[in-house]
């Protein structure tokens, strides 16, 4: 667990470093085409067919993965939480509308909705995040709405209403802190899902088109494999494994600590 947190901190550092231009670029050649690995930072995992450092490309792939994960989370969680709060609290036509939107989205198989959105918005990082967020807000919405319905008639809420607190105040100051744990647990799951999703979608040609992504690296590595070049695949897989495994462990721990009933 502690080790996993260290790994996550490391990945966060890589992402931040990437945006501060502190990471070496994965786009410029550091040596000849397809050099084998040797003890020297840029060619630790060899070079690709254009002479670019595989290690550096994996690092910028990590930056992309972390960015997409957090961006998706930042879109989906507030959206789902707000809709869940509003639908649960006001009920009536607002609830009907939100529930309708929810049922429409869950009725479209995820992969189809994601492809539809990335088709409509054009391929790239932004449309990818929107597409992934569009399929992941529903889980938060459903759980938050359920929690709000449970809390709505509790004494502390009735008391707040009795002293004349506004709807917004009750929702944000009274109910939100009590349902926040749901949003936190689901966030970690959304994060894992988005990072895994990005890799597969990019591999299928529906995601990130240029720049670095683990999906593109794996696509390239699969061709290298036919020439018995293992380093790029091994490197990418290790990086992905470290990130996703650590996140899953932390997500499980969060769920156990905050709400063991959630699955």
């Amino acid at each position: 667990m502690r080790l996993c947190l260290v790994v996550l901190a490391l990945f966060a550092l890589i992402a931040v470093g990437g945006y501060g231009h502190l990471l070496p670029s994965g786009e410029i050649a550091v040596g000849g085409s397809q050099e084998s690995p040797r003890w020297h930072a840029p060619t630790l995992l060899g070079t690709d067919i254009l002479g670019r450092s595989v290690l550096y490309r994996i690092l910028s792939g990590a930056q992309t993965a972390v960015t997409i994960g957090f961006a998706t989370m930042a879109l989906a969680i507030p959206f789902g939480t707000v809709l869940g709060l509003v639908a649960g609290w006001f009920g009536g036509w607002i609830d009907a509308l939100v529930t309708w939107l929810y049922s429409v989205v869950v009725s479209i198989p995820d992969i189809l909705l994601i492809t539809a959105i990335s088709y409509a918005l054009g391929r790239g990082m932004v449309s990818m995040c929107v597409a992934l967020a569009a399929t992941s807000w529903v889980g938060v919405m459903r759980l938050v709405r359920g929690e709000v319905l449970r809390h709505k008639s509790r004494d502390y809420v009735v008391a707040a209403q009795a002293y004349g607190a506004s709807d917004a105040r009750i929702l944000l100051r009274q109910i939100l802190p009590n349902v926040m744990h749901v949003a936190i647990v689901v966030s970690s799951l959304v994060l894992v899902g988005a990072i895994k999703g990005e890799v597969i979608l990019t591999y299928l040609g529906l995601g990130v088109q240029d720049g670095a992504s683990w999906g593109l690296l794996i696509a390239g590595a699969s061709q290298d494999l036919a020439n018995d070049i293992w380093a790029p695949l091994l490197g990418t897989v290790t990086a992905m494994f470290l990130l996703i495994y650590s996140l899953s462990v932390v997500a499980d721990a969060l769920r156990d600590a905050l709400d063991p009933k959630l699955r």
Binding site: W100, S107, I108, P109, L112, T115, Y119, A221, Y245
Partner: protein, 310 residues
């Protein structure tokens, strides 16, 4: 019962309407222009206008949406922009191919995973259970892509046990299907066993289990007759709601092994801007999901007498 089914079907109407609206807007309004995709950047205005008319894209959005709704209600999805083929036949053959890839490993995998989950829950917190838990979290942390790559490389390319990719019709498809089947079973193991373990664990802590033990039931009777019998319900729900996804096919497998199912059809259509295909697949996928959700609720009620359908 009949009343319930009718009510649920009526309730599904606004949902399906919403799906149709969303699909239509995404593809026809916000998406890139399929005429441009087909003709390229240097097409003459006359050719563009001509093709736009031929595909019915020169009508107003409202008329186009009306046409789409008529297609949905009549189950006639017209023709593909690109191949000109009738979509009904194309989708039917695609669905059969997809099912031949996804259904056998789903059936075998579900049975296998239930057995494994039952075993590790029975010996929970033992060595096997703890090892399995770590193994499954670790296994799920490796992208599905990697399993496909490594097994394709190892078993097909190096050892030559399977053809590397491709598909054939009829029984001669079998050799091509071996590897995708194996992979689908493997990839489903982690999440499935985890889910079934949670289901079994919930049941194992129930009062009736303690009662069964205290009246002297053997361990195998407790697990086989009591726990398993009660755990069937969530398992059935989960299984039935997954059937639409079997028909949609595994996009990953179809892409990797060049199998011409619904997944390949969709990805190809995406590249070519073939709107009729994309819209038909999306709306049919949604219809299937709605129907099988209803079916799973009906099954639930028929298995569990406590469940009242209202």
């Amino acid at each position: 019962m009949l009343f319930y089914v009718v009510r649920r079907l009526l309730l599904a109407v606004p949902t399906v309407f919403g799906v149709a609206l969303l699909t239509f807007l995404l593809f026809n309004e916000f998406g890139p222009d399929p005429v441009r995709t087909a003709l390229g950047q240097h097409a003459s205005p006359a050719a563009i206008a001509n093709l736009r008319h031929q595909w019915g894209l020169d009508e107003s959005l409202l008329e186009q949406f009306g046409g789409f709704l008529r297609q949905i209600t009549s189950f006639d999805y017209g023709r593909s922009f690109v191949t000109g083929e009738d979509l009904g036949t194309q989708l039917r053959s695609g669905a059969l191919v997809s099912l031949s890839v996804t259904a056998p490993p789903f059936i075998v995998g579900t049975a296998l995973n239930i057995a494994i989950a039952l075993f590790i829950t029975r010996h929970r917190d033992g060595v096997v259970d703890r090892a399995a838990r770590v193994l499954f979290v670790a296994g799920m942390s490796v992208s599905a892509l990697v399993y496909v790559l490594i097994l394709q490389y190892g078993l097909a390319y190096k050892l030559g046990w399977f053809p590397i990719s491709g598909y054939a019709s009829g029984l001669s498809a079998l050799p091509y299907l071996g590897l995708p089947w194996l992979l689908l079973v493997l990839i489903a193991m982690g999440p499935d066993i985890r889910l079934y373990r949670t289901i079994f664990l919930d049941e194992a802590q129930a009062d009736y289990v303690r009662t069964a033990r205290s009246k002297g039931a053997t361990e195998s009777a407790v697990w086989g007759r009591h726990v398993l019998a009660n755990a069937w319900m969530p398992i059935i729900t989960n299984t039935v709601t997954n059937i639409p996804f079997l028909i949609l096919g595994s996009f990953l497998m179809e892409r990797f092994f060049s199998i011409p199912g619904i997944g390949s059809l969709t990805i190809d259509a995406l590249g070519r801007g073939d709107l009729p295909v994309l819209k038909a697949v999306t709306i049919l996928g949604a219809l299937a999901l709605v129907l099988f959700n209803l079916l799973s609720d009906l099954l639930y009620a028929s298995v569990d007498p406590r469940v009242q359908l209202r």
